[in-house]
């Protein structure tokens, strides 16, 4: 479901003398349905950069990056929008939502944009929030007021609301207590079982060992760091 | 030129021939495009704006020495405004005048259409204060012209909507907007909506003159005129729920007249000629067949309160 060939990336800082910073070269990787691949490498080696490129959030400088049937590296914005709606889910470390929107609607939104009837979407959202131990009295409030751990779980619920065939997980278990960590890992295992291809970053080694089928060290793709 | 001058004091009907020709051109254009407001170069008249300068100019442009002129104000031949305009044309054109609707060839009116049905060949000239029906909702002249051009009349219904929202019904009771021949929305001048049905399919030629606003518009004979309304709030005429106290008419438009300071009142035909005609035929109302004009009768009650003494 994800196929990456010879992918490269650099940043050009126009306002700092046009400095060009190469951050990735020759990246190769693939993720099949039902498989979870973990990205490893020291901080700054480009794990999140690679993840963001897969999501279409960063442009690529060269190479191929195919998600499902779409080459993200050369796709039109609207193709990427459609890909994100139907195929590609992303649980980032940050929750970016319109302030004042109730948590229940934040979680239901990925389903609503797909045209799911509101009642059905909210029921699914409620199920996930309940499972992730977000107290029901908070559902009507905006998650912007929540603690870090609660925001993280809302983000996860949102990422799992729709059964995306491809999932990107950026530190999904960070800042979670043991019980909630267990629930998230179970959610990941369920997604794998239904055939989702998952690309993840896990600093939590136990989690990595439990859900990842393969590990890819991105240091190998980092210019100047590669051995 | 000198042929037209009757006594040497005035050009026939006061206005010079060039001006009358200019006004006639505007009238012809207005007749060719029913309901469309034709601009014209309105002249200063020897009377203030608001006293019918537009109507007077239109009448002046239409008058011939053979015409018989009737002038009414609120239906009455004998109120100040009517009397002064009638005298104006007697002096400047020397035309015959009449109070009988059926005898007149030209009738200048303020705020009424006579009760007696008009006939082919007659001309009814309306005095118009504000010709633009969209004015109170859209102050920009450029925009209202564009709206007329493109028949964008949603705004007109907004006005009626506001009426119903506020009063539970269309409370506009005079200057009620109409649509002419399926195109132009027109202000019929401040006639009561009771008179609106008479606008449509009328055998007479109806001309509208607005002096201050410099516009002339017209309804040629037999023009189709529809009062705007909603499906669930259809246009309805209205009048005081009484019969005329002088002539007993059940279907004429009535004025309410206060007769004393103890709540006494009477209802009389606003059309004095119509009322007098009925009484001459022997019809009698609640207060009997007084042979005075209804307005004169009403006026005789003025002066009961000092504050109204001398009021027009």
């Amino acid at each position: 479901m994800i196929r990456i060939e010879n992918l490269s990336k650099s940043f050009t800082l126009h306002n700092q003398g046009g400095t060009v910073i190469p951050v990735m070269a020759g990246a190769v990787l693939s993720v099949e349905p039902g498989v979870c691949v973990g990205l490893t490498g020291q901080s700054g080696s480009g794990k999140s950069t690679l993840m963001r490129m897969v999501y279409g959030n960063y442009l690529t400088a060269g190479g191929r990056l195919v998600v499902g049937a779409l080459d993200v590296a050369s796709a039109e914005p609207r193709q990427i929008i459609a890909l994100r709606r139907h195929t590609l889910g992303y649980v980032s470390q940050f929750l970016r939502v319109v302030p004042r929107v109730p948590t229940l609607d934040v979680v239901a939104e990925p389903l609503l944009v797909l045209g799911t009837p509101a009642s059905e979407a909210r029921a699914r959202a409620a199920g996930l929030l309940r499972r992730l131990n977000i107290p029901e009295r908070l559902w009507a409030l905006s998650p912007t007021t929540f603690s870090g751990g609660e925001q993280q779980r809302v983000n996860i619920a949102r990422g799992f609301a729709h059964a995306y065939p491809v999932l990107l997980l950026d530190e999904p278990t960070a800042s979670l207590d043991a019980a909630n960590r267990e629930i998230v890992l179970t959610l990941i295992e369920e997604a794998k079982a239904r055939g989702a291809a998952i690309l993840g970053i896990f600093h939590d080694e136990g989690a990595r060992l439990r859900v990842c089928d393969r590990l890819v060290d991105v240091t190998a793709f980092t210019p100047g760091l590669a051995a | 030129m000198s042929d037209d001058t009757q006594s040497g004091a005035y050009t026939f009907a006061y206005l010079d021939e060039q001006t009358k020709r200019m006004i006639r051109r505007a009238i012809l254009k207005a007749l060719a495009i029913p309901g469309y407001q034709v601009p014209f170069a309105s002249r200063e008249m020897p009377m203030p704006y608001g006293w019918g300068t537009g109507g007077v100019q239109v009448t002046a442009a239409c008058l011939t020495p053979e015409d018989r002129l009737k002038v009414i104000d609120q239906g009455a031949d004998d109120t100040t405004n009517a009397v002064s305009i009638r005298r104006f044309f007697q002096r400047t054109a020397g035309v015959a005048t009449t109070e009988a609707t059926m005898d007149a060839t030209i009738i200048q009116t303020r705020h009424r259409i006579p009760e007696t049905p008009l006939t082919e060949g007659q001309i009814l000239v309306y005095q118009v204060p504000i010709p633009e029906p969209l004015r109170f909702l859209e102050p920009r002249e450029t925009e209202t012209r564009k709206m007329h051009e493109l028949e964008e009349y949603g705004l007109m219904h907004v006005k009626l909507y506001e009426d119903i929202a506020r009063h539970g019904q269309i409370a506009t009771s005079y200057a009620y907007p109409v649509k002419v021949e399926g195109h132009y929305v027109m202000d019929p001048s401040p006639i009561p909506k009771f008179d609106n049905p008479k606008l449509s399919g009328n055998p007479a030629t109806q001309l509208f003159g607005a002096g201050r606003e410099q516009r002339i518009y017209a309804l040629p004979p037999w023009t189709d005129v529809v009062s705007l309304d909603f499906d669930d709030h259809p246009f309805e005429t209205s009048k005081a729920p009484h019969d005329c106290d002088l002539c007993g008419a059940k279907d004429s438009y009535l004025d309410e007249v206060i007769t004393d300071d103890e709540g006494g009142r009477m209802f009389v035909c606003s059309d004095t000629d119509f009322c007098a005609g009925r009484r001459a035929e022997g019809h009698e109302g609640r207060l009997g067949g007084d042979q005075k004009s209804s307005k004169t009768f009403a006026n005789s009650f003025e002066g009961i309160w000092p504050a109204t003494a001398g009021a027009r």
Binding site: H14, P77 | G154, V158, I164
Partner: protein, 261 residues
């Protein structure tokens, strides 16, 4: 079939702009602007004051004369249309939300009348229907139904803006132009309006061109982003991509200049 399915199966752009150019005398208003807008898409246009974004919007909406270029709406050449057709489009398929609600509302007409006007403009003649539709739309923009007969002058700025949106959307337009719709509003009111707009875009499948200088607004509202400078488009792409990985020097400057809360 849901709106989203309908949109997904549409492969023709709703609005196609090609080489649009507008000069003010010797000065450039906007130059050589091209883009496609598909059903259900929100396009954000950002740039500093004088960058040409408002000029572009008013040319698109037909409020200003365009010098050269082509605008095709639903396959029809907009610039070749008669004024009658264009104005008809302006009160049926298109809507325009002004920055200042006073420019988009009739301040002397009740809230219900404001919303009802577009219905009456396209021929609605049943008072009861017009009123219930107006009430329904007031509800959708969260204005209490007992305010239906109040004039907008009695409303707060945020309510006026929501009323303007209701007035514009009541005839189910397909294309909405918005000029800084959240400008001049309190931050909390802004958030409520953003949520409302997102919901309406989603539920009605609206296509929107929104001009703003507020990058936070476009991040939350726009699918795609166009960055303008000195009348020209310097960069366009997916909104989050343009904001997170800007390619042009000006965009980088713009993004790095945002104050963090």
């Amino acid at each position: 079939m849901t709106i989203m399915d309908r949109i997904a199966t549409t492969h023709e752009p709703l609005l196609r702009v090609d080489g649009l150019t507008k000069h003010y005398g010797p000065r450039i208003g906007c130059a050589d602007v091209s883009f496609d807008l598909y059903p259900g898409e929100v396009l954000g246009i950002v740039g500093e004051s004088g960058s040409g974004k408002s000029t572009l919007l008013s040319c698109l909406a037909g409020h200003q004369h365009t010098d050269t270029g082509r605008i095709a709406y639903d396959g029809r050449d907009v610039l070749a249309m008669s004024e009658t057709e264009r104005r008809r489009l302006g009160r049926t398929d298109w809507a325009y939300v002004h920055q200042n609600p006073r420019d988009g509302l009739r301040m002397g007409v009740s809230a219900g009348g404001n919303v009802g006007e577009r219905l009456m403009a396209v021929g609605a003649r049943h008072y009861g229907d017009i009123r219930s539709k107006a009430a329904d739309w007031l509800g959708r923009v969260e204005i209490a139904s007992d305010r239906i007969d109040d004039r907008p002058s009695a409303f707060s700025g945020g309510m006026q803006q929501r009323l303007q949106i209701a007035r514009n959307l009541v005839t189910s337009p397909r294309l909405v132009f918005m000029d800084e719709p959240t400008g001049g509003l309190d931050v909390s009111v802004q958030a409520r309006l953003l949520d409302l707009l997102r919901g309406l875009v989603r539920d009605l499948g609206l296509s929107v061109v929104i001009v703003t200088h507020d990058l936070a607004v476009v991040r939350l509202l726009a699918h795609r982003l166009m960055v303008m400078k000195a009348g020209k488009v310097v960069e366009q792409g997916l909104t989050d991509q343009v904001l997170d990985d800007p390619q042009h020097a000006y965009t980088q400057l713009l993004v790095s200049s945002i104050l963090q809360v």
